[in-house]
Subunit: 146 residues, 2 copies
Amino acid sequence: MSAAESAVETIQREMTIFARRARASAGRMHPELSLVSYTLLGHLEERDGCRATDLAAHYALDKSTVSRQVAALERAGLVERRVDPEDHRVQVLHLTDAGREILAQVTDSRRAAFRERLADWPQEDLVRFAAYLERYNAGPGGTGSD
Amino acid sequence: MSAAESAVETIQREMTIFARRARASAGRMHPELSLVSYTLLGHLEERDGCRATDLAAHYALDKSTVSRQVAALERAGLVERRVDPEDHRVQVLHLTDAGREILAQVTDSRRAAFRERLADWPQEDLVRFAAYLERYNAGPGGTGSD
DNA sequence: CGTTCTAGTTGTATAGTACAACTTGAGTGA
DNA sequence: TCACTCAAGTTGTACTATACAACTAGAACG
């Protein structure tokens, strides 16, 4: 096997390990906000509100899954639903102030954890690693882990 | 914000994106072998057999989780348990031929996906990216995404 | 020996997910 | 206008992955 092929295999394996760990630890780190909830909240902030169907499509989740996630987030007071006056089937989801606050908090704490984990990395390596990750995620979608 | 801090933030964001995408797609790609099972099988092949406890420690899984996963894999005929003659508490897990075959199949298909995604990367970058990921995952546990 | 440690299993509970059946509202063609 | 079809969400149900706690069985060491 060439060095490139073996590197691809390593990348595949390590990304897989990371994905599994991320999910497991997200729950422990932030019992109030699972990785999915965090992601959905982030999406709502980014888009400044959207429909449940959009979330389902964007994250390849079943609409029932999104429905229950949103219901939980609403129960927790982190999002609110506003019925679209144009189409009464549609509920436009918005972050509440509390939701915005928790999202910011979790983002901070996640960032702190990453920072600690990467504390002894030389800056040059951090920058290069970050660039590789961006390049990977920005790459042609659909075939990798998308 | 320093370049190092901004790099940390990028790493956090991109890793999160990756994790979310991987989670969404892992199950759909290989219905016959979950992400966890695949990872465990891969570990067994790499180490040429190991104990359930080692798997649990290495992947930060509860021993009960590993126990059930292994039981399922054994039921499927993909691994076999050999009681350690030195210590009868220990079961050394080994891939069966069927396990090796399925692992190879799934690895091929996953590798193809990754290879396609990484097709236009210079080998030098692949090797460095792989090294960074290994280093990240091997890093001090508990705080990042471990 | 008995105590304590280790490897693994089993009981129980929870979260996240999918699929299917349903409800409600919107659009559309005769 | 009315019936039919399509779209957005909800709810019933089932399954998987997971953790934690309680347990069994074997080993190690005094």
